[in-house]
């Protein structure tokens, strides 16, 4: 982490797209990418939790990024995709619209969250990278999975 910060050339991101916005997840946090199949809903769970699914014998808790960010549900009928992550010994799948390339970005294109960003976004975003054609919002995995913030979405 310290090295990465010092080394100008170093951070890798898995890019994903949700509701037209490009997001980046730190490469080392991403375990795998899979299509969420056989999702079982959890009654009485916060709305951000999309359900549970079986990924090669392990139970994965799926979290809907749209819900987490307070965005409207997917409506284009496309197949969503999940980014597998491990946190505190449990598996999570962050459901996004599309997965893009892996980018290596320099520290120099990084900026802190714009001050006028929506509160729900600032909770989970760790800053912005200026890319050539668009902006990539860096998602902070720990914060995305911080369940104390769940259930706040109306």
């Amino acid at each position: 982490m310290m090295l990465a910060d010092l080394d100008q050339t170093s951070q890798g991101y898995v890019t994903v797209e949700t509701a037209g916005q490009l997001f980046g997840l730190r490469l080392e946090r991403v375990r795998d990418v899979f299509v969420p199949r056989g999702l079982s809903k959890i009654p009485l769970a916060p709305p951000e939790v999309a359900g549970l699914l079986n990924l090669r014998g392990r139970i994965v808790t799926a979290i809907d990024l749209r819900r987490r960010l307070g965005l409207p549900p997917r409506s284009d009928g496309s197949t969503p995709i999940a980014i597998g992550m491990e946190e505190r010994g449990e598996l999570y799948g962050l459901i996004v619209d599309r997965v893009g390339d892996v980018l290596r970005l320099k520290r120099s294109t990084y900026e802190a969250n714009p001050v006028n960003l929506d509160g729900r976004w600032t909770q989970v975003c760790a800053g912005v990278h200026r890319l050539e054609h668009q902006l990539m919002v860096v998602l902070d995995v720990e914060k995305v999975l911080d369940f104390s913030q769940f259930g706040m979405t109306v």
Binding site: S40, L44, L52, N54, R58
Partner: protein
């Protein structure tokens, strides 16, 4: 953390737990050479390894302890004080180890206090035990020699890992059969590795199931026989892994000998702890869960069960009390028994306490046998300890024990014989990781419900004899003449497309699972039950752990993930119902015991599709009144009836709703006034023994009862009478002057409502009181009655106590009292007479009550 340090911590912790046990035994049997060896070895290991790893604080403390123990080894007399200080030092070592584990370095602090004590003791031992003075017996000499060998071996040992290589000193000691046998063949495996293996095997099972499914669908195939083999091997593998997760129950018992030792010192009792079946194996998860309950039960036995030595001798018992802890396997369960040979439970004291805390009334308690009475100790807040000791008696005990055990699907029972002791029998499943569960579906979602909690399955539906009925939006299940609160799973879990319970029961055959958790019995409504399956329990994701309804999740054979429902959580959501159910049970029992008398009931429908009923005795006539003759007068509907205007009161309905142009009306009479109760449809008149099953809060409804196998709502006539009479009550008051003034005291709203109109119809002026206290308040206000009818069995002050209070009063003391009771218990009758009641009437015996009242009026000239 340094790998070596990690290793050290694991081994030392295990060693220390062992040490606790050994020291307590050593104190009782100071000449046991084998035991002394073990203890010395353990302390020595700690000391040696600490020096090696540069842990100065630990090394110093261990050294001081070792010095004192060295003296014991050399034959110095073992003192209670010495052992206590060593135990304390071990505690301190544990604390330091915890800090070490947390931070990787020894925590700051000084152990001068303990080291000082250890040294002082060592010095005094020196003084007492001058070398050469004690006549060393032969066997001790040999021990001595062996220990020297041992010590040499120790000093030669290069590192901490090697201490397991120690030569067995002699095979005769039974100090530690498990360890000494197991040592050569065991490998230390981390829990994570085991869990991972378990997961992998679960996946293998799933894959196998999928393959089996595939082959089944394609019919004959050359895969069939290899698949069969795969299947067998998988099952074996699964079993093997399950076994690897097992640990001897001794791990949960390790701390108990020391606990008992400390308790006996603290309580000044002599207590032996016997442990039998320590090698019985249990899943490690279960093991963790029973540690606390066991500790608590041992504590209880030592504190409440075992008597003081003096008392034991007086009762002809041995001075030393015994607590026997045993474990054995029985089917898929492990049975653990905690038995003491103490004084046993005191049924009378439990009864007294149960009454005092309002858990049950005296008459209920009279009917309970001792073993039922004992069950009160599992109720929250129940403790019969006269004084709160530091050990127990705070009343936060056995209920928690029971809850913890039930949480893992176990049960706890107790047997107790006065003066012979108490035995608790705990039955727990072998493992939590795999359990039998029913797979059910509700509103398109599948769930698993642990099978141990399910008592029976009942198919419900309109065609079934087990009908689901709805009272005031609450579903109940009629099951063999009992109403069971019914939870609708789809509703409870707020599932989408669930629809209302009412709609669901209307057009489908559903299944109700009858579930028992602790004292609670309730039904859970589901769409179907698929099958029973052995499921592998996986913990809930921490994101949804707060959803208390689920205890975990599992992967089914088809690969889908489903939730496992926690029956206890269901039970608590049935909580409100539960209170009712318990009240109902005792209520129903008392009603049963009271009388065989049947009550004639009029069944009708009004407003809702459910049946309603009123006691027929309250109704003067049934009339069909043409809708055209209903007039509106003064804001009320009235009809001309026997030359007067009769107000019509609609029971949750409106005129003509029955679909006919004749309005069915139940005519009630109070004094000279008639009131018409307008209903939709008169259904039947039945004679039934009336048992109110559920008391309702809704106005106008007293409760629910089963009549002819159907749930019916009992209508509170007085509610409607009040509405019908309105201002006329004022006029009635004059008339009442001539009437006998009667006070009816009964805690049951139902009885008050049933008896009041009945008595009023006979021309008595009835005042109602819901409790003895209310009656006394009336007395204090100076209200005077001619006759008092009181229930005997009331919460708070009961009828007998009330009668005794009233005797002293100059006016009320002369008023004749009639006792009402739901029991015909000769003892109670006797007591009521003694208290001043002139007559005693069974609660359900209306005729007899009327006669008794009439008799009273004649005899006492009360009305005059």
């Amino acid at each position: 953390m340094d790998e070596l340090l990690g290793e050290f911590l694991t081994e030392t912790n295990e060693g220390l737990d062992q040490l606790d046990v050994e020291l307590v035994r050593f104190e009782q049997d100071p000449n046991n050479a084998e035991m002394l060896n073990t203890i010395f070895r353990l302390v020595h290991t700690v000391k040696g390894t600490c020096g090696f790893l540069g842990l100065a604080r630990l090394a110093k403390l261990a050294h001081a302890a070792e010095t004192l123990m060295g003296q014991y080894r050399d034959g110095a007399p073992v003192t209670v004080e010495g052992v206590s200080v060593i135990l304390k030092s071990i505690d301190r070592i544990k604390q330091i180890l915890e800090g070490l584990e947390r931070d990787g370095v020894e925590p700051q602090g000084s152990d001068a206090d303990l080291i000082g004590k250890l040294q002082a003791l060592a010095l005094s031992e020196d003084a007492v035990f001058a070398p050469g003075e004690a006549g060393l017996e032969d066997d001790r000499l040999s021990v001595h020699a062996a220990l020297d060998d041992l010590e040499r071996a120790w000093r030669a040992a290069p590192g901490p890992e090697e201490h397991f290589e120690l030569p067995e000193l002699d095979g005769s000691g039974d100090a530690n059969p498990r360890e000494s046998h197991a040592r050569a063949q065991t490998v230390r495996v981390s829990v994570d590795t085991l869990e991972h293996l378990m997961t992998t095997v679960s996946e293998l099972v799933l894959t196998r199931n999928q393959l089996l499914d595939l082959v089944r669908r394609t019919g004959e195939s050359e895969f069939k026989s290899p698949l069969q083999r795969l299947s067998t091997v998988t099952a074996e593998l699964q079993e093997g892994i399950m076994k690897a997760r097992m640990q001897p129950i001794a791990n949960a018992w390790q701390k108990l000998p020391r606990l008992v030792r400390e308790l006996s010192l603290e309580l000044d009792k002599k207590i032996d702890l016997d442990m039998i079946g320590a090698d019985t194996e249990l899943d490690r998860q279960v093991l963790e869960m029973i540690k606390d309950p066991l500790t608590h039960m041992i504590r209880n036995s030592a504190d409440h069960g075992i008597e003081s030595p003096a008392e034991r001798v007086r009762n002809g018992k041995s001075e030393v009390g015994r607590i026997k802890l045993s474990a054995y396997q029985q089917g898929g369960y492990i049975v653990i028994e905690v038995a003491d040979d103490g004084r046993g439970l005191d049924a009378e004291r439990i009864r007294a306490k149960a009454h005092e805390t309002g858990l049950a009334s005296l008459s209920e308690l009279d009917r309970l046998n001792d073993s039922d009475t004992f069950k009160f100790i599992f109720r929250p807040g129940f403790s019969t300890a006269n004084a709160v000791s530091s050990v127990s008696g705070r009343g936060v005990g056995m209920d928690v024990v029971r809850n913890n055990i039930e949480l893992i699907g176990g049960t706890v029972e107790l047997k107790s014989t006065s003066q012979a002791g108490t035995t608790f029998v705990i039955k727990i499943p072998l493992t939590l990781a795999i359990m039998a569960a029913l797979i059910v579906e509700a509103a398109g979602h599948r769930f698993a419900i642990p099978q141990f909690s399910v008592v029976e399955l009942v198919r419900t539906g309109n065609t079934s004899s087990h009908r689901v009925e709805v009272i005031n939006d609450t579903a109940v299940l009629r099951l063999r003449d009992k109403l069971l609160p019914l939870l609708d799973l789809a509703q409870l879990l707020k599932l989408e497309d669930a629809g209302t319970t009412f709609d669901r029961i209307a057009d489908k055959v559903l299944t109700a699972l009858v579930i028992q958790t602790g004292a609670r019995l309730f039904g859970v409504l589901v769409d179907f039950v698929f099958r029973t399956e052995e499921i592998v329990v996986k913990p809930m994701s921490s994101l949804v752990r707060h959803v208390s309804m689920f205890s975990g999740n599992t992967i089914l054979g088809d690969g889908s993930v489903i939730m496992i429902i926690d029956p206890n959580a269901l039970g608590s959501s049935a909580g409100a119902l539960d209170v009712q159910a318990e009240a109902v049970k005792s209520f129903a029992a008392s009603a049963q015991a009271a009388t065989e008398n049947k009550t004639a009931l009029l069944l009708f429908r009004a407003g809702t599709p459910s049946l309603k009923a009123v006691p027929l005795s309250l109704i003067t006539r049934l009339e069909g009144i043409p809708l055209s003759s209903i007039e509106r007068c003064n804001g009320e509907d009235v009809v001309q009836y026997r030359g007067a205007l009769m107000p019509l009161v609609y029971v949750e309905t409106e005129a003509g709703k029955g679909g006919d142009d004749v309005q069915p009306v139940l005519v009630l009479t109070e004094g000279d006034f008639h009131v018409g109760l307008a209903v939709d449809e008169i259904v039947d008149i039945v004679e039934e023994q009336l048992t109110i099953e559920l008391e309702a809060e809704a106005p106008g409804i007293i409760g629910a009862a089963i009549v002819k196998g159907k749930a019916v709502e009992m209508v509170d006539v007085s509610h409607y009478l009040g509405r019908g009479l309105g201002q006329r009550l004022a006029g009635k008051a004059e008339e009442a002057l001539r009437a006998v003034r009667l006070l009816l005291i009964d805690d049951s709203q139902f009885f008050r409502s049933m008896l009041a109109p009945l008595l009023a119809a006979r021309g008595y002026e009835v005042t109602l009181a819901g409790s003895a206290e209310e009656a006394l308040a009336l007395k204090d206000k100076g209200v005077v009655f001619d006759l008092i009818v009181s229930d005997l069995d009331m919460p708070g002050m009961d009828g007998i106590a009330l009668a005794e209070r009233l005797k002293a009063d100059p006016t009320w003391g002369k008023t004749p009292l009639i006792a009402l009771s739901s029991h015909s218990n000769p003892r109670l009758i006797e007591r009521s007479r003694a208290a001043g009641f002139v007559n005693y009437v069974g609660k359900f015996d209306r005729q007899k009550l009327i006669h008794a009242i009439e008799d009273c009026c004649r005899q006492w000239g009360a009305a005059a």
